[in-house]
């Protein structure tokens, strides 16, 4: 079955790049523009992994992770946080909230693919 990845980022250019990279690798991609939109889409679609930005309006990345993890459908779904900071405190918070891993921006396409492969096997 083709895996579906949800990508949440308020930047259209990032979403586009992630989408292009992942679909070229044979994955399906759903896009969301902020944490709330991401939550709505994550809980109403079948997703196999979520990539989310940190700084977003309405609901930021960590808030999204917290909220999503409270929903039963999030069990076992890897969540990758995109962050421009290698702030250890931030990573700790993210993990505490329920993130599975992170990617530091700016990242190259193959780095993205490597992380996705790591957490989903796809």
């Amino acid at each position: 079955m083709t895996k579906t990845i949800l990508t949440i980022d308020d930047s259209a250019s990032i979403r586009q790049m992630v989408s292009m990279t992942l679909t070229a690798a044979g994955l399906d991609v759903i896009e969301a523009v902020n944490g709330q939109d991401g939550y709505d889409k994550a809980t109403t679609n079948t997703v196999h992994a979520v990539i989310t930005d940190l700084n977003m309006p309405v609901l930021n990345g960590i808030e999204f992770i917290r909220k999503y993890r409270q929903h039963p459908s999030s069990k076992g779904i890897p969540i990758i946080l995109l962050t421009t900071e290698s702030d250890e405190e931030l990573k700790r918070q993210a993990k505490e909230a329920g993130a599975t891993g992170w990617i530091v921006k700016p990242f190259k396409q193959d780095q993205l693919l490597a992380v996705i492969k790591k957490v989903t096997g796809a």
Binding site: D10, T84, S86, D87, I103, F107, V119
Partner: protein
Amino acid sequence: MNISDPSETFRQEARELLDQLEAGLLDLEQDPSNNDLINSTFRALHTIKGSGAMFGFTAVAEFVHEFETAFDRVRKGQSAANKALIGVALDAKDHIHLLIENPDAPIDGGASILSELRVIVEEGAIDEDGEPVHAAPVAVAAPVAPVVAEAPKPAENGAKVWRLTFYLPSDALIYGTNPELLLGELAGIGPTSVLALSDRVPTLDVIDPETSYLGWQVDITTSEDPTAAIDDVFLFLRDNMELTLAPLGGADTPVAVAEAVQAASDDAMPEAPFVPEPVAKVEEAPAAKAAAPKRKPAEKAEAEKPAATSLRVPAERLDELMDRVGELVIAQARLSQIATQSSDGALKTIAEELERLSSGLRDTTMGIRMVPIGSIFSRFRRLVHDLSNDLGKPIEFITTGEETELDKTMIERLADPLVHLIRNSVDHGLESAEKRIAAGKSPTGTVRLSAVYSGAEVAISVIDDGAGLNHDRIRAKAEENGLIAPDAKLTDQELNHLIFAPGFSTANEVTALSGRGVGMDVVKRTIDGLRGTIDVSTTPGKGSVFTLRLPLTLAIIDGMLVRVGNGRYTIPLAAVEECVELPEGIEANSKGRNFLDIRGALVPYLRLREVFGLKGEADAHQKVVIVSSGEGRVGLVVDQIIGNNQAVIKQLSKLHSGIKSFSGATILGDGEVALILDTAHLVASGQSYVDRNLGRAA
């Protein structure tokens, strides 16, 4: 399928973000402790930096980095968003804009903006009690420098077996970690032999199936030190898992990777700590002479666009769509024509249905092209803000009607004329604060920009409460430039309109801002080109109102088809108020004054046969179509009213575009061309007829 370049998407995105940033900064200036604004400003900078770095705009990313840091400090309450910071941030925004449009060209000015920023940040530092911190530069919390894990051991000669034992954190499964995948990655390092450790698995009655209890013992055979590779496998888990690694057999000491080790990931970005440079000269924040532009409450969106419900489409696609809809409308009109003349009932029904559908399609498509004029209003805030600072005149800038929608292409062409008009009002219309006080006015001048629908048109006004147009000066200048004869009698309106004549200027000195006032004739020409009109009314000492009237749409309109002589003409239906019969013998009764009495009001009328220079006898029972434009009305006398039609507006070529009575042409159902009447011009003609005859009206 459209695959566009993400870096071009970034550019567009960055442009929008920069606009948002500017608006946010201007708002923040009014409300420096508004956390939402601070956060959204920070976010905008953050996104530009992050995405910029992603798509190769490194100069942008580097430049923005410091600003992001500065606003992060503001966000954390360590620094104030004072006027100086806003000012330099606005400069930075301009610089970023340049960098985005020209990523390859070396652009100067960035360094000086940054050094100004550093000074301002120092100056604006505040401590926990909100008190300004002086003297010592405040260092930004430096991010953790990367710590490299244990130095890799020298590679062993032969293959060795390493035993790795690990337990995952109890929530690992819920949080998306897949042990199978981890084991698979480990197998990539070398042949493995895996043993599951169930020592921590509780009894069935207490087991929580979602908790990770299992451990694993994995023996990996590899000739190289696997420490780094194993670090990589457990990249995301190292901090809170248990892991031990030791080579089996051999005398080497086990290398234990303890729990919660602060191992840095391979992709940590070292960030230089923010070091403010010592400065020799303290820069003063520019004196706050300008009163702030007032922000309209509630009207302004809370910065959040309904992003999930909008779509980005290249403009050419829209134009293409419009063309096709236009062609469809023409073809449908021809079908309707044939259906009218046919006795085939089925054909008639389908033609009617098609007419309904194409009308709906037309409306929807036209709607897509309509954009709220607020999209250009916002840039004027910055303009007035800067003008106010530069001229030292306190100005209040008010906008209304931002939601008024216009055709997209028209809005773009309006930007320059409006800039000219606003500049003109600020520069020449508004007096200095002292003069205003002397005249008994408030020292803060007001410039108001408004947009409102009016029949088939939209009226955009620039209103100032300045000194008004000085008719004596206008007259003197016009005579000086030979535009009018010295003893010519001119109405106030005619004097006002002289300012639009080419080469005219009453500015006492050429100001850098408005030039010689040459903008005005260019403004008029641009508005003419949009088939609009420009009007000005003024009261000495009180102010002036410049009003642009523009047709609502450039593309398809509902029209009323009329016949004058042998020719057929279309009148925009939105401009039509009513139709009446021309009273018999009206010539005789009105004694040569062409006025109609419409329910007590006198409405001038024009005989189109005369306007068009047609010879021959008019039909009996002529009709009058009363059209309006702005405040004025005129009756157009035609031979016959044929009916309604949808007219796809075709522009007239240069050979005919100068003829004022017509605003375009359209193709009728039978394939012939019909000219579209320019009602605004005809109303104006009627109006000047009224003006000239007003004294003699009954």
